[in-house]
Amino acid sequence: MRCALVFLVAVMAAAQDRTISSDAEVRSLAFSKDGNTLAAACSDGKLRQWDVRAGSFRKAIPRVNEEALAAMPSGSGLFAVSAKDGSIVLHDLETGAELQRIALAGRRVRELAISNDRQSLAGSSRVAGNSREETMRLWDASGKERFTAPAGIGGTSALAISPDGSILAAGSWDTNLRAWNTRNGELLRLIEDDLLVALFYLAFTPDGKTLAGGGVDRTVYFWDTKTWKLARKFSGQPEMISSLAFSPDGKLLATGGFNDIAEKHPVSILLWDVVSGKIVRTLPAPHMVSSVAFSPDGKLLAAASGDKMVRFWTVR
């Protein structure tokens, strides 16, 4: 009886608080700085916005083309699009207005990241020819290229800029991890031995002291961003880890799963207590979790998982 009661409580705790429906598959999520708006990049190329409190639809902003990729860190108030014509277009996250267009030569840039202070935009692309070597590129706020650097073989699997904008970190499909100084392109560290398999997602802690990454081996890795030593590992996700996010106070970590059979298989979202490393909640998701995001007050967790829904949980 007691077991049944505990199970019931656990199920109730795991039930999502509410959902928002979208007209197209939701790919990535970001809250506005004031937390009142949730923006989602969708598979039809539109950016949709909802009122977080009411759950009501606000508007859909058409983007420059349908297959564009977007990076939307909440802190920057921007989203970036890698357009088919090779240019990168920066939009205001709230209004959708085009703010800047960076025309590029060469192969299209994939995997974009923007710093919270809007001073750095990073992306990577394949070098010319038959090679699968990748080049990392970083532009300043005026759209001027600050540096390019070799970024491994096979492409960039994960990309993140530290909260203060000083460090760019990238994982490549060859399983190596690199960190650069965003000011001058200095390679701060090439990490070749900590990982045997690739990372799917990277995120810095809000204080910037730690870089976390998760991927194929279902483990969350934490690197100290001063020494670049591997500091901790969290194990317990039943699936590969496709996304992760820290709460604004850095105390909670959310990780989203990716079943290795296929994207369209049920997975879990785990909430971790960062200090103890313990899993504090397990939440269900129908498919690969492409994005998790905490509201600026840290009370809400939103997730996108391969369908036309945004799922919310009250986590505090």
Binding site: S131, S157, W173, L196
Partner: protein, 209 residues
């Protein structure tokens, strides 16, 4: 001492002024050198995506199929050349694939190997025909090949017998953006060695760095 190839000798002559001096070879010999070089020249193997399931540290194993493993026995073999047609020294070949059920081993190293291939020696791997999986519905084997002085090549092979190609590889190799290059869909031959086996030949041609 390593024996120089004919093309290397020719390049040496050019660098050292041998051609200008014309002391070591007649025009006919030079022409023969050149023609042989042209005959041996090979196109670089097309690259393909690396994919998410590469794993570092695979053992140097030529037998990936264990007794009792399900799946159709498959032997994949070939040699490693450069674009001049010379055998490449010091090649290392990472190969990884799913098992017959379409699952990658991400915990251990089943159906993964990193071969050390001496120059001119054939690499050969005994494995099974890879399975199909939902997100990548054509059977394939991943390769990453490195060698001193050459560009690292990332590629894949596919199998002409795969039902995915519906018996018409020329028409269907790009279906669902699966294979980027027709040459990477390899013909499959069948032979008996107690039980039926499939065999695929795949020579690799690296570009010089």
């Amino acid at each position: 001492m390593k024996r120089a190839t004919r093309r290397e000798m020719l390049e040496n002559c050019i660098v050292r002024g041998g051609l200008v001096a014309g002391v070591s070879m007649s025009a006919n010999q030079l022409l023969a050198f050149w023609q042989e070089g042209e005959r041996n020249a090979r196109k670089p193997t097309p690259s393909e995506v690396l994919g998410p399931f590469f794993k570092k540290g695979a053992p140097n194993a030529s037998v990936l199929r264990q007794p009792g493993d399900p799946g159709f026995p498959l032997r994949v073999s070939g040699k490693v050349y450069n674009t001049r047609g010379d055998a490449v020294e010091g090649a290392r070949i990472d190969m990884w694939q799913t098992n017959a059920d379409g699952r990658y081993d991400t915990v251990g190293y089943r159906y993964r190997t990193k071969l050390a291939v001496p120059a001119g020696v054939e690499y050969a791997v005994e494995t099974v025909m890879p399975g199909h999986y939902e997100d990548r519905p054509a059977q394939h084997i991943h390769y990453m090949i490195s060698a001193p002085g050459h560009k690292t090549l990332v590629t894949q092979i596919y199998f002409a017998t795969d039902p995915f190609f519906e018996g018409d590889v020329d028409k269907n190799y790009r279906k669902r953006n699966i294979a980027e290059n027709r040459d990477l869909v390899r013909p499959v031959s069948l032979y008996e060695q107690g039980v039926p086996h499939a065999a695929v030949s795949f020579d690799i041609v690296l570009e010089r760095a």
